[in-house]
Amino acid sequence: MDRQAYRVIVIGGGHAGVEAAWAAANLLPAERSASGALRPTVALVTLDPAKIGVMSCNPAIGGLAKGQLVREVDAMGGLMGLAADATGIHFKVLNTSKGPAVHGPRCQNDKHAYAEAVQALIASRPEIEVIAAAVEGLIFQGTKLAGVRINTPLGRAELAAPAIVLTTGTFMRGLMHTGEKKSAGGRHGEAPSVGISDELRRLGFELGRLKTGTPPRLRKSTIDWDNLPVQPGDDQPLPFSDLTERGPWSAGELVCDRFPLLEQLDCRQTRTTADAHEHIRQNLHRAPMFSGQIESVGPRYCPSIEDKVNRFADRESHGVFLEPESWRSDWVYCNGIATSLPEDVQLALVRAMPGCDKAEVLQYGYAVEYDMVRPHQIHATGMTKSVEGLFLAGQINGTSGYEEAAAQGLVAGLNAARFALGEEPRTLGRHEAYIGVLMDDLVTKTPVEPYRMFTSRAEHRLLLRADNSADRLTPLAEELGLLSSTELGRMRLAVFQQRRQETAELARAIAEAKLDGEPLTKSLVRSEFGYGDLRRALPGVRAARSSWMGVFASMKYAPYIERQEAEIRRQSKMERKRIPSALDFANITPMRKEARQALGRFRPETFGQAGRLEGVTPADLTLLAVVVERFKRGELPPGVPVGAA
């Protein structure tokens, strides 16, 4: 069979898949064939191209800790921030009453516009070819990964590439539940993917199963909308991307020439009632989460309404945010009542909410169970430890959330392209980005629930802020070649230069300024001195909001940042010191069994990772250092017990 050849194949068109394809495309310019035509280097294989970039659950991007992830992906030339900016209908920075380190930019999007924007961005890249097909299996040449077998509407075919990024989302053996009803599928109305799960099992991967859920959607015109309390967005919306802030930008058919591009709208608030809670309690035996129909674990931070009613029995009401999903339809998302209760119970629950007594349910909530690969089997690049060239990103690694998926997609796409080019892998450190925290957590911890980012997971939180994501990551992205190959990337570099100039000038202005006879730098570190005070202290100075905030926060946290940076320097050698992958930890017999087992399971790549494993002590690391050194000197052939000499 003739194989169409690519450098990277991405399987799945969700938020991980598109980011992976986008990042790989940035490193792999389209090749000119003998006939002079441009040949794509990246294949994006998905069951239904019309579903690329679809928001399966909440039509929102960002939030606490997630907003930082989006800003980071954007700073590295990713697409999520651009698509979100171009389609946001309700922008709000969360946590503004807290310090700038924990501000979380968030927006709600027109979900149809969002998916279209993502599709337009993908279509704008000659490097990417979208292929509508189901993946049936992987192709190996000897032991080497060589491509995928696909089934298309036109028949079976094979695609060849040295690197493959697998982003299956909730589709691997996806099983949806609404009450007693079960149906196979990864998303409402869409079929599951079955073959790939068996293929991974055959390859020896340890799979797990997780669960997530989504709430019912209502028809807006059947809600007493105007009489419910308003939830407005920010008066002055802040975009995710500095590119949008300084705009305009465009990519193919997507043009973002002002901000916000779409008309903004308000959300409304309602609540569940005690009667409805009682009704849920009486029907718990019909709830898949309680009847035993669902055994896999769901996220604690996103419990279903039946779970909330059961665990917090004394609560008579839970808040529900009614979020319009699009200007083009009157679908409303009910944020707060994710559920897999039977339809009749859902209807009763909805109709009991103030303002919703006549509400029409357009789509009932459901839970979905899906297969995932336990992430100790991947490197921090997303590449699997046992199959070279095979990368995993997104929910397949046990995470949840569009932003977490996008972050992994970026890392996997970047490294898949580097692998295809024969270049060394590049990971991000915990001190460099939330993306680094995410990848490191995945490879050093055993997830007990779908993983979601929280700012408290980052030990260098004061350093990893939304306001300095460009300073942290854009130079790195440039160095890695993610920016210079495209028009958008080059614009981003120009915008970053502007930012640099502005922040330098701002820092100088602050250093020279006085407030009430006191140097401004001194006033600034006082806890009561806020961002508004800084703007008022320097009325004549002009700069972008993101520049102001970046300078304000870095000065505010300066003493803490210095301490964190010293700690980072202290740790850096551990993080860089590598452990050979061929080392057999089981044979380090003088080491405690618990440590040997942890090392054997996770197979850490660096001493830094090894030190973060549960069950590994500093003394174990000392011993490991001796063993690694002996191994490198060839004094320790693999398979010979260390203590047996």
């Binding site: 924990v102 944020n335 707060g336 408290s456 004061l462």
Partner: protein, 457 residues
């Protein structure tokens, strides 16, 4: 566990030995020696070649006055050392508590840390200073040492002190969870951030509890050895008594007043025949002079005053037995009439009847008198078993004190404080406690939020 910073440890076997040995290895050896040693010949810097030299080690005390210890330093230069790195061994008088204090001083130096088990040998091996067979031995040794440590830690955790620390850890985790809830879950209807006032008061209460449990010995530089200072006017015979108590000629003595210009410190077992007898740190101070006549005399007075303030017990020496102006009011003091073998000069006259009688009259040349003085000191130094005693190592004492310091800092914050900074402090304090309890990971903190609040829109 880095392999190229500087490590330090006590290298002599635990327990009493005539000399304690502190071993240092790594690139900061040079700057470390430069900062902690003073050299007899006023050289600028300790020698940087392989050699042995005598020096004095400046050991700061709580009050800031430095004690000056005589030490012998063996200097090693890379690659000719046990580890193959720059290094030194510092030989001290063989008092384990003193050795601990010096180690504390050394690891407070920038870039220097306490060595983990087997680390010197690990480095020696990595620098080709050990053979393969020796390295095998080291591996086994590390494993054994680790097991021993773990057993000791497990035993400690089961005890009362373990319970206390766990309770603190629990409260600290709770506080952090409440602060984190107000950061990471503010988009949740049900989550209410902890009030700054409540945070301040609970952090303050926890800080006080930890400090109280650590007792007055919680300060990092303080030792459990009581400090006993010889004080009195110039020419009161303090240095002579100092030498007599030590049983050797340690201080220069002369009949000229003001001979002693420096504070000398020597560890002294109060009963040589009993290895469990209490030990003290005996300090010889320059004579107290209300009107010093030169800058050097003024400096000597300042250091004497500082050492006096730092002392736990004063031996007030007065050959006239008049004991007129107490050197420090309200401090535990033993009044010693010195030079009891000599008559009081007639010009001074007899002590007034209202003068307090001496606790002891003695001649430095009378062994029986010296033995009585030692017994008297031992009696006064016996510490009441206070509630403040938490059985933890010095290192853990220090980490607990650091945690308490962070908490009390938090307690004094204003209401406008940034919760992410408060969380940073609580996290650091929790990591300190984690050295005793085992690290408490962010997941556990987040878990508390889920347990307490209805999270999830």
């Amino acid at each position: 566990m880095a392999l190229d910073d500087t490590i330090a440890a006590i290298a002599s076997p635990p327990g009493r030995s005539p000399r304690a040995i502190l071993r240092v290895s790594g690139p900061h050896t040079r700057s470390l020696l430069g900062s902690i040693l003073s050299l007899p010949d006023r050289a600028d810097e300790p020698p940087q070649t392989r050699c042995a030299f005598a020096a004095r080690l400046k050991l700061p005390s709580q009050s800031g006055a430095a004690l000056s210890l005589p030490v012998l330093v063996l200097r090693f230069v890379a690659p000719k050392s046990y580890t193959g790195e720059d290094g030194a061994e510092i030989l001290l008088p063989g008092n384990p508590l003193l050795a601990q204090r010096v180690l504390d001083l050394i690891v407070s130096h920038d870039g220097v840390r306490r060595a983990g088990p087997g680390e010197f040998s690990a480095r020696a091996y990595l620098n080709n200073r050990l053979t393969l067979d020796e390295a095998e031995g080291v591996s086994l040794l590390i494993a054994a040492a680790t097991d021993e440590e773990r057993a000791a830690a497990a035993k400690w955790m089961k005890g009362e002190a373990g319970d206390t620390c766990r309770r603190w850890g629990d409260e600290l985790t709770e506080l952090l969870a409440l602060v984190e809830a107000g950061i990471d879950f503010t988009d949740q209807e049900d989550v209410v951030a902890i009030e700054p006032a409540e945070l301040a008061s609970r952090a303050g209460a926890l800080a006080s509890e930890i400090q109280a449990a650590l007792g007055p010995a919680s300060a990092a530089t303080q030792t459990t050895e009581p400090k006993v200072a010889l004080v009195g006017a110039p020419s009161a015979g303090k240095s002579t008594l100092f030498n007599a108590l030590l049983g050797r000629r340690r201080a220069v003595t002369h009949e000229d007043p003001g001979t002693t210009r420096d504070v000398l410190a020597e560890p002294l077992p109060l009963d040589e025949s009993d290895p469990d007898a209490p030990r003290i740190l005996l300090l010889d101070l320059p004579g107290l002079d209300a009107d010093p006549d030169s800058p050097s005399a003024r400096a000597a007075q300042a250091s004497a005053r500082a050492a006096l303030d730092d002392a736990d017990l004063l031996l007030w020496c007065d050959p006239t037995a008049r004991f007129q102006t107490p050197p420090a009011a309200g401090r535990p003091t033993i009044r010693v009439r010195t030079k009891a073998d000599m008559p009081v000069a007639p010009s001074i006259g007899a002590p007034s009847p209202s003068a307090p009688p001496p606790d002891l009259e003695l001649s430095a040349f009378d062994p029986a008198g010296i033995a009585s003085l030692k017994a008297l000191i031992a009696g006064r130094c016996e510490r009441a078993p206070g509630s403040g005693d938490l059985a933890v190592s010095r290192h853990h004492r220090r980490t607990l004190a650091a945690a308490a310091g962070l908490l009390s800092g938090l307690a004094s914050e204003g209401p406008g404080a940034d919760p992410s900074v408060a969380a940073e402090r609580l996290r650091t304090a929790l990591d300190h406690l984690g050295e005793l309890l085992g690290r408490i990971p962010p997941d556990e903190v987040i878990g508390r939020v889920f347990a307490r609040f209805c999270v999830g829109k």
